[in-house]
Symmetry: C2
């Protein structure tokens, strides 16, 4: 393992699309959403731990989640759990990580990755990441994994490349594109020049800091007012003071859409951001009636094309549901038509003031 | 209040028809099945407490439930919680109550009543009970309330009387009839000579003991081997020794079907034994979509002719169910077609080994 290689796992997000399983108190990345006894954060950690030295693994999270992070990935050094005092989107989060790593090791090269995605083809993924780390180490460029699209998804951002896509071959990015409508998504799928933006980026800390100075100077200037504070006992109080005044902006806007030296590596790694119950249904193994069961004591009768999730100890008996989402959590129970899932978020935010 | 008048509330039954709400650990009578903050036992107690002196209220239960009884009706004197060491049906249970009361007060007259029924018209009910107590006090007869039937129910036993039914007017019972098939239930309903057997009986302890000697001598002989033990600290150990060898038989078989001096008072008191989720649906107030909700944080959308029950603190969101039973308990969740309720019992006993 190369001791200059690091990963920053972002685990500060909130999100209620997986309500009632995900809540502000325990968002998606901390849930055992697949019912395999591990949270998505834990799975992400274990994946990277195969190629990154343990002391080089960082988790960037919100202060509110620091204790859940420690509990779920106790192997991560306390000093490597970076706590954002406020939610300022991914731009400041990545800049903080870069400064922190660069102060510790000016040769550092790092991956930044979400903690709430799943990847089926782990070996392939790690091979691509290793290659991207080497490329970033040897070039003053930014690299990203571009997910080879399998359907005209309107829930993802896209990356447009100049040439035909060749899996594994890094290519110059022409532009980043926000979530498209279905017409455009179909065009993208059939053009062969678009990839999904999976939010996984690889770069040298030195180059990224330079890029911040060029394309988002406000953020980096705010955070490097006193770089001597990084990697000292005063880091947290320093961050608590300066971080809240950074610009609230995503890393995509802050750097990737502005910098010219961005390359993508097209990959086919069984990736999903598991953004919805339906995507979870797509992703997981189904029974002969096309139903996904998460939970060990579930008895289904005449139930088709549904997803039934519960605590593994709870007995669940369901008869006769077709195309339903059934999710039972300690504080809430959801029984909802699967094809109307998009209503749930609004319902939760409106009716329940969540 | 007449100090010779007593009530014995039977609260020893088990039953899983209300699964998953009722379990062996906490059967129906101990549940707040109506969602009003009181168990059925508590409601039964409070009903009788309006006409029976508090020290004259007894609860007969299984040893396993003694602590739940104490918790739910703390007003009942410890010595008035009679604990059956074994489940020998209602025959021995009533005989024990009679001997115990007779030893304490040879003039005692008592009602025996189940603890898991509901009665809407409480004033009327209490008027009938008071009348029946007076009648039993003045006559060496057995009295029962006969519920005026409102539908051809095949889940109840029936009482046939000799004459046309006159509400409130006691009538000689011709015979007791087990649960009929639908054809017979329809005949009974239209003949005007049949009433539902609600399992509520009124008698003098002295007369009932005499009747036991005549019609079920084995039970009474077993229990009166040493009547000096009743109302002493040794009562429980005595009962523990003799009770298990009594005949396992219902009071209906043991006495009522055999004795000639049985009278019924036809009543119309809004009675239900709440034997099934459907009967609970019939009984409770429904919304404009004919749905019953038990639980305070339930949000229903396009849900019709259903019953949705949950812990009052849990948020429940249901969309699009028609004719369903949804019951959420701590350890189990049931989502089942309402018209197939009769399958649940078998399912629970078979699949879950309950």
């Amino acid at each position: 393992m190369n001791k200059n290689y690091y990963v920053g796992i972002m685990a500060g997000g909130v999100g209620t699309r997986f309500w009632p399983s995900s809540t502000k108190e325990k968002p998606k990345q901390f849930l055992d959403i697949l019912g395999i006894g591990k949270s998505l954060l834990r799975m992400t950690y274990e994946r990277f731990a195969r190629i990154i030295p343990p002391e080089n693994i960082l988790v960037i999270t919100n202060k509110a989640y620091a204790s859940i992070v420690k509990e779920q990935v106790p192997e991560v050094l306390d000093k490597n759990i970076l706590c954002e005092p406020t939610r300022n989107n991914t731009g400041p989060c990545v800049a903080y990580t870069a400064l922190r790593l660069h102060q510790e090791n000016p040769e550092s090269v790092f991956v930044i990755a979400p903690s709430d995605h799943v990847i089926l083809k782990e070996e392939l993924f790690l091979a691509h990441i290793s290659k991207a780390l080497d490329l970033a180490d040897q070039n003053n460029c930014i690299f990203t994994l571009g997910i080879n699209p399998s359907r005209p998804d309107t829930g993802y951002g896209y990356i447009k490349v100049n040439d035909e896509i060749i899996i594994g071959q890094e290519q110059k990015v022409e532009k980043f594109i926000e979530k498209p409508d279905l017409d455009n998504a179909l065009k993208y799928l059939y053009s062969g020049k678009y990839l999904w933006n999976g939010g996984i980026f690889i770069w040298k800390s030195s180059q990224l800091i330079k890029d911040f100075h060029e394309y988002s100077p406000n953020i980096i200037q705010t955070l490097e007012q006193d770089i001597s504070k990084y990697n000292t006992p005063e880091e947290q109080s320093y961050i608590d003071k300066v971080y809240p005044s950074t610009e609230n902006i995503s890393i995509d806007y802050a750097i990737l859409e502005r910098a010219p030296h961005v390359y993508t590596i097209p990959v086919d790694i069984g990736w999903s951001d598991l953004g919805t119950w339906n995507s979870l249904h797509d992703y997981l193994e189904k029974d002969e009636n096309n139903t996904v069961t998460i939970g060990k004591n579930t008895f289904l009768i005449d139930t088709e094309n549904s997803i039934v999730r519960s605590d593994s100890k709870k007995i669940v008996v369901v008869k006769g549901l077709k195309n339903y989402i059934v999710v039972d959590e300690k504080d809430a129970l959801l029984i909802y038509p699967k094809d109307q899932e998009q209503e749930i978020k609004k319902l939760v935010e409106g009716k329940m003031g969540n």
